[in-house]
């Protein structure tokens, strides 16, 4: 149950928020160094941040962490669907085990990704 609705929630989140944010980033990249710096200052880090950018910097990280989770959740439960498509994994216990592994695995992968990013940011 939970893993099914999470597949839809994470997929629709990626489709609307994730795809829009990717296009925003890509448009900024194509628009040149100034536009790209403005994008980074808004979403990630602004060295001379006013109140507005302090807030958007935090919001940007929250959204990016959310998108990372949605990516792994949708990827892992999508892989689960490929297995179910073959007709395997419908026994109650097996089904429940893999649903749990999908949810825990997505949280674990998200945490590992962001520990890596923050570690790189501190060392860099």
């Amino acid at each position: 149950m939970a893993v099914s609705i999470l597949h839809r929630v994470s997929g629709d989140g990626l489709a609307i928020v994730g795809a829009s944010m990717f296009l925003w980033w890509l448009g900024a990249l194509a628009s040149g160094p100034d536009a790209y710096a403005a994008f980074i200052a808004c979403v990630w880090h602004d060295p001379e941040a006013g109140t507005f950018h302090q807030i958007t910097n935090i919001l940007g990280k929250v959204v990016l962490i959310g998108l990372t989770w949605a990516f792994f959740q949708h990827l892992f439960s999508g892989l689960r669907h490929f297995v179910l498509d073959t007709g395997a994994g419908y026994e109650l216990k097996v089904n429940k085990t893999w649903s749990t592994i999908v949810i825990v695995g997505a949280l674990f992968a998200t945490a590992a990704t962001w520990l890596y990013i923050f570690k790189e940011a501190l060392n860099g």
């Binding site: 489709a15 628009s31 890596y116 990013i117």
Partner: protein, 135 residues
């Protein structure tokens, strides 16, 4: 095919409309997404993302630019199918549902076109001697 009950009249006809086509396209683009978004994810982790020059050089590499264009096609195709199911499940009324599907198609096709055009600009700007311009 029977002619008695409602179930009997439709049994054996296969799915109505484009159900199996939708199902197959969703899975084919899912496989594409695993490869192409996986590549994007690993690239994001390895790139100095705040450095415009480094990221633009990466994106203008022909292999990378091609992978990004394929990724946009695969992702926007997949999300169009997924959001269509969302609309079919939650938007009721023929008029509003039609409007929602039209808006979804504008978003999916327009978004993919915008993204592909941005990549082409990044990849060809050095060869064409173009300065980066507003998107």
């Amino acid at each position: 095919m029977g002619n008695g009950t409602r179930l009997g009249r439709v049994r054996g006809l296969g799915s109505s409309h484009h159900g199996s086509q939708h199902w197959l396209q969703q899975r084919l683009t899912a496989l594409g997404n695993i490869l192409l978004v996986g590549f994007l994810f690993v690239s994001f982790l390895r790139l100095p993302m705040t450095d415009h020059g480094a990221v633009a050089r990466w994106a203008s590499n022909p292999t990378v630019a091609l992978a990004l264009i394929l990724m946009l096609v695969s992702v926007f195709w997949h999300l169009r199918l997924g959001l269509q199911v969302l609309i079919e499940d939650y938007v009721h009324g023929d008029g509003t549902r039609l409007l929602a599907v039209v808006l979804l198609n504008f978003y999916a096709i327009g978004g993919a076109a915008y993204g592909i055009f941005a990549i082409v600009r990044i990849a060809l700007a050095p060869a064409a001697g173009l300065a980066p311009g507003g998107m």
